[in-house]
C-alpha cells in the first residue's frame, strides 16, 4: 500500500519529466505519458480494492508523526473518487493522441507532460491529510492548468486565460490567508488534529473558518456568484484539455469542500450552502439554455451540476453527503464524455456552433449514440447513472424536509434536458449545413471514437453498478461524518 500511494504521485511526475525531455519524439513521448498515467490509474484501482477490504490506510511521509509531517490518507472517500478521476485522465490522453494531428488538437509537446503534472496534483489533492499540502496540490493543478489553457497562444485563449489566472490566484491567496487563520486559531493544519480542535473554538471563529474556506473552495468549484471565470475560459481550450478540466477541476473544489466541511461538522453553514446551491443550479441551467455553441452549453452545465453536489453537502445528513459523493462519481465521467463528443463534432463539422451544424445523426450515427447516452444521463433520465445520482440527492432533500431545494433541483433537471435537446436538434437533426469546412487533416478518428467509446462504457458501468456504488458512497459519507474514524486512522 505504501508503494501504491507513492506510485500515484511519483509515476505521473516522473513520466512527465521524461516525456518533457524527449518531447520531440512523438511515439516515445506518448508511450511515456500513457505509461505514467496508466500506472497511476492502475495503482488507484489497487488502492480502491485494498481500502475496501482492509479499511483506511495512512502513509506518514518520511516517517514523521502527523503533528510534524505530512500524511497521505487513503480513506473510503478518496479510494472511491480518485480511481474514477485517474481513469478519466488516462482515457482523455488516449483521445488526445488520436486528435493530435487535427486543427483542434492540443500541442502534444507541452500538453502530454503537463497532463502528468496535473495528474500528480489531483492525486495529492485527494490523498492529502493536511490543509497546507492541499494548498500545494491546488497550486500544482493550477500551474499546469494555466499552461494547458493558454499553451497555443491564440488571442481568445490568452484573454480567457487572464480571467482564469486572476480568479484562481485570488482564490489561492485567500486560501493562504485562511491557512494562517486556521493555524492561528488552532496551532495545526492537520485535518485529523483539526477535527479535535475546531469544535472547541468559539462559534464565531468556527463559522468564520467555515465561511472562509467555503469561499475558497467555492471559487475553485465555480458556485454562484463565483463562477464567471468558467464559461469564458473552458470553451477556448482544445477539447481534450477542456474535457479534463470539466471532469476534474471544479470537482476537486467540491471534493475539498465535502471533505473539509463534513469532517469539521460545519452544520451551521448548511442553510447558506443550500441557498447558494439552489441559485447555482438554476443560473447554470438557464445560462446553458441561452448559449448556441456546444462547448459553451456544456460549460454552463458544469455550474448547474455543481449545485446538486453542493445541495447534497448542504443538507448535512448522512444521506445528503452520500448523495453528493455519488453525484461526484457519476458527474466526472459523464461530463468528460460530453466534451469528448463535442470534440468529435467539431472535428467532423468544422465547428461546434449550433447554427452551422446539422444532420449528424444521419451521417455519423455512432457519434449521435455516443452523445445520447451521457446527455440523457446528465439530464437525469433512468436508467442512467444521472438518474440514480439525482435520485439520491433529491430523496435526501425530501428526507430532510428541504422542499424548496428539491423543487429547484427538479426544475434545473428539466432545464438541463431542454438544453440537451437544443444540442440534439442543432447538431444531430435538421438539414445538412450549407458548407462543412472541415479542417484537414482529420486525425486518427478510430482512436478518438475508441477513447470516447471506452468512456461511455465507463459511464454505463457506473449506471449498472449504481447500487453497490451507492453503498460505497454511504460508507464514505459515514467515515466523513464521524471524525473519530478519521482521527483514529491518522493518529493511531
Amino acid at each position: 500500500m505504501n508503494t501504491v500511494l507513492t506510485l500515484m504521485l511519483v509515476a505521473p511526475l516522473l513520466s512527465a519529466a521524461l516525456a518533457f525531455a524527449v518531447r520531440r519524439h512523438d511515439q516515445l513521448r506518448d508511450a511515456l505519458t500513457l505509461a505514467g498515467l496508466g500506472t497511476a490509474a492502475g495503482a488507484s484501482g489497487v488502492m480502491f480494492a485494498t481500502v475496501a477490504a482492509d479499511g483506511p490506510f495512512v502513509l506518514r511521509v518520511g516517517g514523521w508523526h502527523p503533528e510534524l509531517g505530512i500524511v497521505l490518507v487513503a480513506d473510503r472517500f478518496a479510494a472511491l473518487v480518485l480511481p474514477v478521476a485517474l481513469a478519466i485522465i488516462f482515457v482523455v490522453e488516449l483521445f488526445a493522441i488520436g486528435q493530435r494531428k487535427t486543427a483542434w488538437g492540443s500541442n502534444p509537446e507541452l500538453s502530454g507532460p503537463m497532463m502528468g503534472v496535473l495528474t500528480a496534483g489531483v492525486s495529492l489533492a485527494m490523498l492529502t491529510g493536511d490543509l497546507f499540502t492541499l494548498f500545494v496540490a491546488f497550486e500544482l493543478i493550477l500551474v499546469s492548468s494555466y499552461v494547458l489553457l493558454t499553451h497555443q497562444g491564440q488571442a481568445a485563449q490568452l484573454r480567457a486565460g487572464m480571467t482564469y489566472v486572476v480568479m484562481n490566484l485570488l482564490a489561492s491567496t485567500l486560501f493562504l490567508f485562511g491557512l494562517a487563520y486556521v493555524y492561528a486559531a488552532t496551532g495545526t493544519v492537520n485535518l485529523a488534529l483539526l477535527t479535535e480542535r475546531i469544535p472547541e473554538l468559539p462559534d464565531g471563529v468556527r463559522l468564520g473558518i467555515g465561511a472562509w474556506f467555503f469561499v475558497v473552495f467555492g471559487t475553485k468549484a465555480a458556485v454562484f456568484p463565483l463562477f464567471s471565470w468558467l464559461p469564458d475560459s473552458y470553451p477556448t481550450a482544445p477539447t481534450t484539455i477542456t474535457a479534463v478540466f470539466a471532469g476534474l477541476l471544479t470537482k476537486i473544489g467540491i471534493y475539498a469542500m465535502i471533505r473539509f466541511h463534513t469532517l469539521m461538522g460545519m452544520d451551521q453553514l448548511g442553510n447558506t450552502m443550500l441557498i447558494i446551491a439552489g441559485v447555482t443550479m438554476i443560473v447554470g441551467a438557464l445560462g446553458a439554455l441561452a448559449q448556441s455553441h456546444v462547448k459553451r452549453i456544456l460549460s454552463f452545465h458544469i455550474i448547474s451540476q455543481i449545485g446538486y453536489m453542493l445541495m447534497g453537502l448542504g443538507l448535512f445528513t448522512a444521506a445528503g453527503t452520500a448523495g453528493a459523493i455519488l453525484f461526484l462519481v457519476h458527474h466526472m465521467p459523464v461530463k468528460t464524455v460530453l466534451f469528448l463528443v463535442g470534440g468529435l463534432i467539431e472535428n467532423d463539422q468544422g465547428t461546434g456552433r449550433l447554427d452551422r451544424t446539422g444532420g449528424l445523426a444521419r451521417r455519423r450515427p455512432l457519434i449521435a449514440a455516443l452523445f445520447a447516452v451521457p446527455a440523457l444521463s446528465l439530464a437525469g433520465l433512468p436508467p442512467f447513472s444521472g438518474f440514480v445520482a439525482k435520485f439520491a440527492v433529491i430523496s435526501a432533500g425530501i428526507e430532510a424536509r428541504a422542499t424548496p431545494w428539491v423543487v429547484l433541483a427538479l426544475v434545473a433537471g428539466a432545464l438541463t434536458l431542454l438544453s440537451m435537446t437544443k444540442i440534439w436538434l442543432g447538431v444531430f437533426w435538421g438539414a445538412d449545413p450549407d458548407r462543412v469546412s472541415v479542417r484537414r487533416p482529420p486525425g486518427n478518428r478510430p482512436m478518438m471514437l475508441a477513447a470516447t467509446g471506452i468512456a461511455v462504457a465507463g459511464t454505463l458501468t457506473i449506471s449498472a453498478l449504481a447500487g453497490p456504488l451507492f453503498d460505497l458512497s454511504v460508507d464514505a459519507a459515514e467515515d466523513l461524518r464521524d471524525p473519530e474514524i478519521y482521527r483514529t486512522a491518522v493518529l493511531r
Binding site: N2, A17, F20, R60
Partner: protein
C-alpha cells in the same frame, strides 16, 4: 550589450559570479540543518544567470534538460526508499570521517536538494529564453519585419 559598452558592469559581474557560486554551494550544503537548501541555492545561481544575461555574458542554455534532470533526480530520491519498504520521502543519514575535513554528516536530502536546485535554475533559464524571443504581433509575424 552592456558588457561591451561598460567595463565596470562587466568586471563587477565577472567578479560577482564565483562569489555567488560559492554562496550558492554553501546554501545547498547548509540547507539540511540551517537556513538554505536547494531552492535558495537555485535562486542564488539563478540570480547569477540573470545578471550575466542582462550584461550579455555567457550563460547556461538547455533549460529543458535542467528541468527534466532535476525532476527525475528529486522524484527518484523521494521514491527510492519505498523499494526497501521505508515510507515515501524517507531520509537516510550517512556519517563518515574523511581526512582533512574531519567528521562529515550528510543524507539523501542532498541529492534531493540538488534536483530542486536544477529545477529552479532550469526555470529561470527558460524564463530568460522566453523573454528574449522575438515579439510577435496579432497576425503572427515578427514585429518590425514589415
Amino acid at each position: 550589450m552592456i558588457a561591451t559598452r561598460s567595463p565596470i558592469v562587466r568586471l563587477a559581474i565577472q567578479t560577482a559570479t564565483p562569489i555567488a557560486i560559492v554562496l550558492g554551494t554553501y546554501l545547498l550544503f547548509a540547507g539540511h540543518n540551517r537556513p538554505g537548501g536547494g531552492f535558495a541555492a537555485g535562486l542564488v545561481f539563478g540570480a547569477v544567470v540573470v545578471l550575466r544575461t542582462i550584461a550579455g555574458l555567457q550563460r547556461p542554455r538547455h533549460a529543458d534538460t535542467l528541468i527534466a534532470v532535476g525532476v527525475v533526480i528529486a522524484v527518484a530520491v523521494a521514491a527510492l526508499p519505498v523499494l526497501w519498504g521505508d515510507p515515501f520521502l524517507d531520509m537516510k543519514i550517512v556519517e563518515t570521517t574523511v581526512p582533512l575535513l574531519g567528521k562529515i554528516k550528510t543524507g539523501s536530502a542532498l541529492p534531493f536538494d540538488i534536483g530542486v536546485m536544477a529545477i529552479v535554475v532550469g526555470l529561470i533559464v527558460a524564463l530568460l529564453d522566453g523573454l528574449s524571443l522575438p515579439t510577435v504581433d496579432d497576425t503572427g509575424t515578427e514585429a518590425g519585419a514589415a
